[in-house]
């Protein structure tokens, strides 16, 4: 995500609040977002994303035939399997 452009506004006193959502509700998957938000200056100063589920795809995909990658990665998610397949192919084409 692009950083907001620097403004010429006066810098306010910072009020940094730590806000975490782990796991995020009402979406499929177990995405966790950890942020530090500066409400005084209306800027997010830090943001980390993680996942609390481990299934081992990144481990067992090593050493396999690369042409099989999109078949296996598309099974990560039954809703969005297509984008996992596309990303795995893009990564191979870029390599």
């Amino acid at each position: 995500m692009a950083m907001p452009a620097a403004t010429t506004a006066v810098r306010q006193p910072s009020q940094i609040v730590e806000m975490n959502w782990d796991p995020i509700t009402r979406i499929v998957g177990s995405l966790g977002i950890y942020t530090k938000i500066d409400f005084g200056n209306r800027v997010v100063t830090d943001c980390q994303a993680t996942s609390s589920i481990f299934r081992g795809y990144s481990i067992f995909m090593k050493g396999k035939d690369p042409r099989d990658a999109h078949f296996i990665t598309s099974r990560i998610c039954g809703i969005c399997g297509d984008n996992h397949a596309t990303c795995s192919v893009y990564a191979q084409n870029m390599a």
């Binding site: 396999k64 035939d65 042409r67 099989d68 078949f71």
Partner: protein, 144 residues
């Protein structure tokens, strides 16, 4: 209880193989195999495990009767079998059993494809009805 096979799987899903429901099975029968993706012919040489995989998706379609993995050109990777994925890897190589079966079916298929135009040439022609002979050959069957 619905009929189950000896592994406890419902027969309506797992009794028939992918090949038995595949739209492209006729190309396999005549030994007409695709050598690259995008061809409408049988894709067993590109890695389709259809002839041995128990799954009825090509028969019933994926969405409301349409689609189904090998019907649209995607190789069957055997994802309904307990041996998936390790026994089917690498997916895009020709399955070892199909090397033998495709070699055996090629002579028979070549014969069929050679004889097919002969039959088609007579079937594509109407019966000869324009003549003055006493017996009609128009296919007319009077109700008598």
């Amino acid at each position: 209880m619905i009929p189950l096979d000896d592994a406890g799987r419902p027969k309506w899903l797992f009794e028939r193989t992918v090949h038995e429901g595949c739209d492209r099975a006729a190309y396999y029968e005549t030994g007409d195999f695709a050598t690259e993706y995008g061809s409408p012919k049988c894709i067993v040489k590109l890695g389709c495990w259809g002839p041995v995989v128990q799954c009825n998706v090509p028969k019933r379609g994926w969405m409301a009767g349409m689609g189904g993995c090998p019907n649209v050109g995607g190789i069957c990777i055997g994802c309904t079998m307990p041996g998936f994925p390790d026994k089917f890897m690498p997916f895009m190589d020709e399955p070892p059993g199909s090397v033998l079966s495709s070699t055996l079916i090629k002579p028979y298929g070549w014969l069929i494809r050679a004889l097919r135009p002969l039959t088609q040439s007579t079937l594509n022609d109407e019966p000869r009805w324009r003549h003055n002979k006493p017996r009609l050959t128009t296919g007319y069957q009077p109700r008598a």
